[in-house]
C-alpha cells in the first residue's frame, strides 16, 4: 500500500463499534401519479471490515437506500431518518461537506460498467482525478498510484492501459477500473450496487475477485447489493433481504441460507438452481410480481404472492423482530418456518409439474388436461 495515503497512525475513536448506522431510513419520490415510497424504513449497522449483502428484486429499494447514504438522490427525493457514519449524521450535510465524504470515506461502484466511465477522458486521467480530488500531491505521484491501482484489480499491462480510453476496454475490465477508482483513497466503506449484474458469468468471477482484492488492500467494509444469491453466498458476512422498500429478514449468511424464517427468503432460495440437487428436483418459483410502490395496500406487501398468507397478513404489516441471535425476520408466522425448505411452502409451477420427473417422456397427462395424448407404455 502506498505510504502517502492514509498513514497508519490515524486515531480511530470508533474501533469495533459501528462504522455505519442506518436508522429507519425512508425515501419518498413525488411523481405525477402520486408519491412513490421507495424505501419504507430501512435500518442496519455495518462494522469495520464487514461485508453486508443486500438482496432483493428490482424495485425493492436496495439501490435507493445506498444512494441515500452517498447523498446522490435527486433533489426531489424526500429523505427521512438517520444515516450516521462514525457517529456523524450524514443526512442534512451540505454538498461541500458531502464532497469530502464521497470517494474518500465512502465510495460507490455502479451497475453498468459500459456507461460508468466518461468516454472522452483517458482511464489514467479518471483514476488520477479520483486521487487528486482528495490528496494534494504532485501529478506524478497520482499517476504512480493509478498504475498501482490497476495492478491491484488485475488489469494487464497497466502502463499501456492507463493512456487508453474506456471504449478500448471490455465490460469486465471497465468494471475493474471502476473498482480501482472506488478504492483509490482507501475508503472506509465501499458500496457496490449490483457490480456483476450486467456482466457474463465468467467475467463476474474476475470482477468479484477484484472486489475482494479491493477489500483486502483497503480494509474497507462493504455493502454488496445484488439480486444474485450466489454472489452473496460467496462474499457476504451478513445478509439483509429487502422487499417492497423494507427489510424482511436480516441475519448472518448461515442464518439466511440454512435457516430462513420469512417466506420470501425461502422462495428466493427455492428459485435458485443448485448444482448439488438431484435431477428430479424441481424449482419452486414465487408466482406474481412485486407490488407497485405507488399505492401500497395495508398489511404485509408479500401477501399476494405468499402461500402462507392469512387474513392477519393483509391487515397488519409485520415488524422486524428477532428470531435468533442477530437474526431478525418480519413475518407473522416466522415461528412456523423453522427447518422448512422452499418446496414445503411453494409449489412447482411447470405445466407438467404434476408428473413425477422419474417417468421422463412417456407419461400420462394430468387428468384435467384438454388434449388427449396416447400414452406409449
Amino acid at each position: 500500500m502506498s505510504d502517502f495515503l492514509n498513514p497508519a497512525i490515524e486515531v480511530d475513536t470508533f474501533d469495533g463499534a459501528d462504522l455505519l448506522t442506518v436508522d429507519n431510513l425512508t425515501v419518498d419520490f413525488p411523481t405525477a401519479d402520486g408519491v412513490v415510497r421507495a424505501v419504507r424504513g430501512v435500518s442496519y449497522r455495518l462494522r469495520p471490515g464487514e461485508v453486508l449483502g443486500i438482496v432483493g428484486e428490482s424495485g425493492s429499494g436496495k439501490s435507493v437506500s445506498s444512494m441515500a447514504v452517498m447523498g446522490l438522490l435527486p433533489r426531489t427525493a424526500q429523505i427521512k431518518g438517520s444515516i450516521k457514519f462514525r457517529g456523524e449524521e450524514l443526512l442534512g450535510l451540505s454538498e461541500v461537506e458531502m464532497m469530502s465524504v464521497r470517494g474518500k470515506k465512502i465510495a460507490m461502484i455502479f451497475q453498468d460498467p459500459m456507461t460508468s466511465l466518461n468516454p472522452v477522458y483517458k482511464i489514467g486521467f479518471q483514476l488520477e482525478e479520483a486521487v487528486l480530488a482528495h490528496n494534494d500531491i504532485p501529478k506524478a505521484e497520482a499517476r504512480k498510484r493509478a498504475l498501482e491501482l490497476l495492478n491491484i484489480v488485475g488489469i494487464p499491462f497497466p502502463d499501456k492501459r492507463v493512456d487508453q480510453f474506456p471504449h478500448e476496454f471490455s465490460g469486465g475490465m471497465r468494471q475493474r477500473v471502476v473498482i480501482a477508482i472506488a478504492m483509490a483513497n482507501n475508503p472506509d466503506i465501499i458500496i457496490a450496487d449490483e457490480p456483476t449484474t450486467a456482466l457474463d458469468v465468467t467475467v463476474q468471477a474476475q470482477v468479484l475477485e477484484a472486489l475482494r482484492a479491493a477489500q483486502r488492500e483497503t480494509g474497507a467494509a462493504m455493502v454488496l447489493i445484488t439480486h444474485d444469491l450466489g454472489v452473496v453466498a460467496g462474499q457476504a458476512d451478513r445478509v439483509l433481504v429487502m422487499y417492497a422498500g423494507k427489510p424482511v429478514e436480516i441475519g448472518s449468511v448461515d442464518d439466511i441460507y440454512y435457516n430462513p424464517r420469512m417466506p420470501y427468503t425461502l422462495g428466493l432460495l427455492g428459485s435458485l438452481p443448485r448444482l448439488d440437487s438431484s435431477r428430479t428436483d424441481r424449482l419452486t418459483p414465487i408466482q406474481g410480481a412485486p407490488p407497485s410502490l405507488l399505492n401500497l395496500p395495508p398489511g404485509c406487501p408479500f401477501t399476494p404472492r405468499c402461500p402462507m398468507a392469512q387474513p392477519v397478513c393483509s391487515e397488519r404489516e409485520p415488524d422486524l423482530l428477532p428470531v435468533g441471535a442477530g437474526h431478525d425476520s418480519a413475518c407473522h408466522f416466522s415461528g412456523q418456518l423453522t427447518d422448512k425448505h422452499a418446496e414445503d411452502v411453494f409449489s412447482a409451477t411447470a405445466v407438467d409439474a404434476q408428473i413425477p420427473a422419474e417417468f421422463g417422456a412417456d407419461v400420462q397427462p394430468p387428468a384435467d388436461s384438454t388434449t388427449i395424448v396416447e400414452s406409449a407404455s
Binding site: M70, L72, E95, M99, S100, V101, R102, G103, K104, A107, M108, F110, D112, T115, S116, L117, N118, P119, V120, E129, A130, A133, H134, F165, H167, V178, I181
Partner: protein
C-alpha cells in the same frame, strides 16, 4: 487524427462536385440572361441577342455548358462572363464575402456563447423560474420572422436617433460602414462595430434560441448519465463535474447542429442585409437574380455551397477532437 482529416477532406470532394452539378443544372435551366433584354422596349436587335448568347455559351447543351464552366473555373480561374459590363466577378465576390463574413462570424460567436451559457444554466436550474422564463423567451425568438424583427429594430433605432441625437446617428442603421469612414484603424473598427450592432442582434437571436434549447436538452441528458453520477460519487466538486465532465460531453452534439444550421444562416443573412442595406453577399445575390446574371449567380452559389461543406467538415473534425470514439470511424 491526421488520417481522419485527410479521409474527411477526400470525402468532401465528390459532395462538392455533385453539389456544383445540381446547382448548375437547376440554375442554368431557370435563369436565362437574355430574358430582360427580350422584354426591352425598343427591342434589342436579334443579332445582338444571338451574339451575347453565343458569348455566354447559351446555345450549347446543358451538360456541356456545365463542363465548360467547371473546367474554366477549376483550371483557369475563370468565373464566367457577366452580363453587365465592367462587372468583375472575382473582385465583387471577395468584397461581398468579406462584408458578410464578419457579420456571420460575429453572430455565430455571440449566439453560441449566449446559447451555451443559457443552456447550461437552464439545465442545472431545471424547472426553476429562470429556466421557465429563458425557455419561453427562446420560443418567442424562434417564432420571430427575421425580416420583421430587423425592420423593427431599424425603425426603433431611427426613432431613438431622432429623439436623442437628431443631427448624427447614434446607432447606425444603414450600410456596413459609413459613407465617409473615419481614418485610422481604431476609429474605423469602431465605425464597423457600430454598424454591426443591429444586424448582429437580428441574426444571432434566432440561432441563439434554437441552440440554447438544444444545449439545454443535451446538457440534461448528460447530467442524468451514469458517468456523471460516478464523478459525483468520486467526491469531485460540483463545478468540476459540471464543466470538466458534463459540459465537455454536452457540447459535442451542438457542434454538428451549428454546422447544419449554417446553410440557414446564409439565408438569414440575405434578409438581414436587405433590411439594413449592407453590400454583402445578400446584395450581390439579389442583384444577380434581378439582372438575370447567370455567371455571378453561379459563382455566388458555389461559394455558398463551399461554405456549407467547409462548415460541415469543421464540425466533423471538431467532433473527432472532442470525442475519441469517433476517430476510428
Amino acid at each position: 487524427m491526421f488520417a481522419f482529416t485527410i479521409r474527411r477532406l477526400l470525402a468532401s470532394i465528390p459532395v462538392l462536385f455533385f453539389s456544383t452539378l445540381l446547382v448548375f443544372l437547376l440554375v442554368a435551366s431557370s435563369v436565362d440572361p437574355l430574358e430582360p433584354l427580350r422584354a426591352k422596349n425598343p427591342p434589342v436587335p436579334h443579332q445582338t441577342l444571338v451574339a451575347l448568347g453565343t458569348r455566354l455559351g447559351l446555345y450549347h447543351p446543358l451538360l456541356q455548358r456545365y463542363w465548360d464552366w467547371l473546367t474554366g473555373l477549376v483550371l483557369h480561374g475563370n468565373w464566367g462572363t457577366p452580363v453587365q459590363p465592367g462587372y468583375h466577378i472575382a473582385a465583387r465576390l471577395s468584397s461581398s464575402f468579406l462584408v458578410t463574413f464578419r457579420l456571420v462570424i460575429f453572430s455565430i460567436f455571440c449566439s453560441l456563447a449566449l446559447a451555451i451559457a443559457v443552456g447550461v444554466f437552464s439545465a442545472v436550474r431545471q424547472y426553476s423560474k429562470m429556466d421557465y422564463v429563458a425557455t419561453s423567451i427562446g420560443f418567442l425568438f424562434l417564432s420571430l420572422p427575421t425580416f420583421w424583427f430587423a425592420a423593427l429594430l431599424k425603425a426603433w433605432a431611427i426613432q431613438f436617433n431622432s429623439a436623442v441625437s437628431p443631427d448624427h446617428a447614434l446607432i447606425d442603421t444603414i450600410g456596413e460602414a459609413s459613407p465617409n469612414p473615419p481614418s485610422g484603424f481604431f476609429p474605423q473598427l469602431g465605425d464597423a462595430f457600430g454598424h454591426l450592432l443591429l444586424p448582429t442582434i437580428t441574426l444571432s437571436l434566432i440561432s441563439y434560441a434554437s441552440w440554447s434549447r438544444f444545449q439545454r436538452a443535451s446538457m440534461l441528458e448528460v447530467l442524468n448519465s451514469d458517468y456523471i453520477r460516478l464523478a459525483r460519487a468520486k467526491g469531485l466538486s460540483r463545478r468540476r463535474v459540471l464543466f470538466r465532465h458534463a459540459l465537455r460531453n454536452a457540447l459535442m452534439p451542438l457542434t454538428t447542429q451549428v454546422a447544419l444550421d449554417t446553410a440557414a444562416l446564409l439565408g438569414g443573412a440575405v434578409i438581414t442585409e436587405t433590411v439594413f442595406e449592407w453590400h454583402g453577399m445578400g446584395y450581390m445575390f439579389l442583384q444577380a437574380v434581378g439582372n438575370y446574371d447567370l455567371f455571378p449567380l453561379l459563382a455566388w452559389l458555389i461559394v455558398a455551397a463551399l461554405l456549407v461543406i467547409v462548415f460541415n467538415l469543421i464540425a466533423d473534425l471538431l467532433y473527432a477532437v472532442l470525442d475519441p470514439r469517433i476517430r476510428l470511424a
